[in-house]
Symmetry: C2
Subunit: 413 residues, 2 copies
């Protein structure tokens, strides 16, 4: 099936990504599953780059995820690095065959590029439980090498799409002594039976920064970006984020988190991560509304995030939003079920700037028609103050529509 | 809107409930919100009955729930007891007005019946955030008293319905020295914007049993029945279960859990609770499939239940079931995201008796057409062995269909 582009897609289309010194991309049509489009991408990364990653916490995570986590645990080997990704087959829940496939993809890329296989990061996305057609991927490795070019980031972003309705890219630059570029792309959250949502994100920068500092920044940023979005509360077996810093910028290396430039870089990287995270939500299956949910007044920030995600994942809240219904009672319900401390009689809720509920009851000034008018907007904000302490968090989600059911129930692969 | 009766409704309609010695019911049309149907019910209970209850753990629970919990904490007062319930207005999130309303309902019933208000249990279900029209309810109390009759259980069951598509009743009997009757009714899980799903359950028996033993049995049974069902993962602010034992049966009282008759009674009560719990799932919005999910091989029973509920609440699993898609990959995903220990390479999954996945990969004998044929059935069983230890749990749910979205998004109240 071919889905129309999400109405929430960025208006400008895929952004023009800058070339990142030290990184070249290639993509190719390998017919892993799809026909008539590229479905394997290769990123070649220069020597001495810092590579960090975060991954799904699923207990049934896929073999490529385990391979990457082992790479990070072992630390960088000498020489260059690479990332190989295929779409159409997730290489997940395929027993010992899974690790064989991930290892073969890495080894093939390593031999072709003359680097250590343990410097090769692999990811697979698509159908699960089917054996990966390894030869189709490894057989294209020479062609991929020949096509490598720093200009190919957008083509690489398209090669990793599954049922995404648009390719997702983001970029920024920041002054760290030198002008440093940050650019990345992501896929998700499209899915089609029997596929699962998987989110893959690859970000590149020419910043010079130690791997340990980069990893610390990436992990902290992930909590506030990719781990603060939800489409349907279902967690993929393959979620992968890899951030590569080539170190080619003309700057002194950032070697400690206490370097004041670390915070500057972290903020710039976070803006790219947040942009990509929002684009993933905006491509949620069947989405017609993009919703920012902020919870204030919680016992701590963690409690605030739990409550915010309880609202964001509630099918009743999400269907009310789809129906443009200012149904604040369902927000109360979702706060109540979250399990975190909340003071019902201090609870206040805003839709946008409209105070809907004030200290435990509907606000005396609230008019239902104001709420109904607000809910017609495409981008919505819901804020709740749960009246306990100072904890705060923001998460992002989309609505739950008939089209979500159609994509996941009515269509068969 | 008027919904068609769920295709999963029990074929025989509402069961014939036996009269329970010591309990009389009445219902009346009070126009709390609905027109042309009874919407308030009164149950009068004899002196010296044992009354126990379990309630929502929501942090935003409604005033009637708080009232009932206070009753139980204070212990039974001398004299008779009563239960008063209205539909159409949940008396939830209504500030201090909420407790005023719950108190007024209890006081009015108490004065009319000549009993202590603290022996009156109240429940309200329907719209939230709107002030309860107390006078409409209290003004009907005399009429309710005049209509009290042991034969009126079915009419009482109908008076507490909101958007349920059928009234839910269940009964059994058990020999505890005397033949003891158990009968009860429930409402849920229908909802309509801006209502929330609320589940109310009232069960009556003439067994003679101490309140403390009864409460212990009810609490333990709830974990395996009402707390093991889910329609959409959203927890009501008003969920209430009250079990009343009148003690009128000609038997020696059960005064300790060690009395061998306690286990016999507990099992009989559990069968009624489970029957009602299943009927609530079978009336889940838009449901076309009833699904039993069993998880084995978990670290302990609690872990098994967490994993089973992760499967039961997954929108991807529920939409696959709606689409009759034997999508075991989504079951793997839901197990993985549950956060409990699982051994991916020991994981096995059955659809009915069909072994689909065996020790970490699709079973060599599995044929997709067998799975697809099985999924056409109305009642389905999914079993997963997660290969860690001996923990086991079973939960029940329904599928997620377009009709769920229609009920909760497209229609406005």
């Amino acid at each position: 099936m071919s889905l129309p582009v999400s109405p929430l897609a960025p208006k400008g289309g895929f952004p023009k990504l800058p070339e990142i010194d030290g990184v070249r991309f290639a993509s190719v049509e390998a017919n892993v599953k799809y026909r008539g489009r590229d479905d394997v991408m290769l990123a070649e990364i220069c020597e001495d780059a810092s590579i960090s990653g975060t991954f799904t916490r699923s207990k049934t995570r896929a073999a490529p995820v385990l391979w990457c986590q082992e790479n990070l645990a072992m630390g960088a080997q000498s020489g260059g690095s690479a990332i190989v990704v295929n779409s159409g087959n997730a290489n997940a829940f395929t027993g010992t065959h899974g690790l064989t496939g991930a290892s073969a993809m890495a080894t093939s890329a390593a031999e072709t590029l003359g680097i250590n296989p343990r410097n090769v990061y692999v990811a697979s996305t698509g159908v699960i439980g089917e054996p990966l057609p390894i030869d189709r991927i490894t057989g294209k490795m020479g062609e991929l090498r020949d096509r490598l070019d720093a200009k190919n980031a957008e083509a690489a972003a398209r090669a990793i799409m599954t049922t995404d309705t648009y390719a997702k890219g983001a970029t920024t630059s920041v002054d760290l002594g030198a002008r440093v570029q940050i650019a990345g792309f992501a896929k998700g959250s499209g899915m089609i039976a029997p596929d699962m949502a998987t989110m893959l994100v690859f970000i590149f920068t020419d910043a010079k920064i130690d791997q340990s500092v980069l990893q610390e920044i990436v992990s902290a940023n992930t909590d506030l970006t990719f781990n603060a979005i939800t489409v349907d509360s279902d967690t993929s077996t393959s979620d992968t984020l890899v951030v590569t810093a080539t170190g080619r910028a003309d700057m002194d290396a950032i070697t400690t988190f206490n370097d004041p430039r670390a915070a500057v870089f972290a903020a710039a990287l976070q803006s790219v991560m947040l942009d990509l995270a929002h684009q993933v939500v905006r491509d949620g299956e069947g989405a017609t509304k993009f919703v920012e949910i902020t919870v204030k007044g919680a016992a701590d920030n963690g409690a605030a995030k739990t409550v915010a995600l309880s609202i964001a994942n509630s099918p009743l809240v999400k269907t009310a939003i789809a129906g443009e219904d200012p149904n604040w009672g369902r927000v109360v319900m979702a706060i109540g079920k979250a399990g975190e401390e909340a003071d019902r009689d201090q609870l206040s809720i805003w839709f946008g700037d409209i105070l809907v509920a004030d200290k435990g009851w509907v606000s005396p000034d609230y008019r239902e028609e104001d709420g109904a008018e607000y809910m017609k907007a495409q981008d919505l904000k819901i804020t709740a103050d749960i009246g306990v302490s100072e904890g705060q968090a923001t998460v992002w989600t989309c609505d739950l529509t008939n089209q979500y059911i159609a994509i996941n129930a009515d269509y068969r692969s």
